[in-house]
Symmetry: C2
Subunit: 158 residues, 2 copies
């Protein structure tokens, strides 16, 4: 019979408790503000925006905030190696576009998104809100956000 | 009196157990292979190396593997905005140099390094071995490694 005390054995190992804690954390608790550029801006202007906003990934939108592309530092660096004039090359030539964009939603679990970032070898994904067939960009979720979640998880305990 | 059963209350909360698990993980369990360039190579060649090796940070060394600088994607992108010819501009002009380089050692705790990456707003640090006054580069530790550690921690439980 279970001892009648104010606590009892839950049958969980410490690793299961770790998992339980982390699985409760959702994207919306750690997501960052998205930084977007219009699909018609030049690669040069996109690189400037990346510096001014101090982010590693830009989301490319049409004129109603609908996601049409993603630009990583890697995409922009690759373009800078080319012979083209960066001030006239439009970002929509070099961006990653649908259906190749990986994204997440605000109620997704941080752990699931972490797995996806590792599998796909990417640093960040847009957080989107579905609007029929279209995806509206509402946030940015990165390995920095995941690192922060991990640090907070332990910090709370100190 | 403590009930005499095969388990007992440890006085730890689940968050403390989370911390305990994570604090046991050291840098050497998750570090990556460092990618280095000589201090005399051009910015153009450094960007090419970054692509060939598929990394976000390069370490700059002198001819005996001693750390003299760090190059992030951001440093290289900034250089690409300038008017200089990237094929003749040497990396030692644009790199971050000592004493401004943040580094870690192989027995450091993943959590402590995670806190440093967040505080300093950087994506990666070299893992070094002290050799008198000099630092020999033996690894690379990044937010990707931290994300992997978090995913593994939970995955073990499934």
């Amino acid at each position: 019979a279970r001892p009648r005390v104010g606590y009892y054995y839950t049958g969980k190992t410490s690793l299961q408790l770790v998992s339980d804690s982390i699985k409760k954390i959702t994207v919306k608790e750690y997501q960052s503000i998205p930084v977007v550029v219009d699909k018609n801006v030049s690669v040069y202007d996109a690189i400037c925006t990346m510096f001014l906003e101090d982010v590693g990934t830009l989301f490319v939108v049409d004129n109603s905030s609908i996601l049409v592309g993603v630009l990583s530092r890697k995409d922009l660096l690759r373009a800078s190696l080319g012979k083209q004039d960066l001030t006239t090359l439009p970002v929509n030539i070099i961006m990653t576009r649908m259906p190749n964009i990986t994204f997440c939603e605000k109620d997704d679990n941080v752990y699931e998104v972490a797995k996806i970032l590792i599998e796909k070898q990417i640093d960040a994904v847009p957080v989107v809100k579905r609007n029929g067939e279209q995806l509206e960009v509402i946030g940015r979720f990165t390995k920095t956000n995941i690192t922060k979640a991990l640090v907070d998880l332990i910090h709370e305990d100190m």
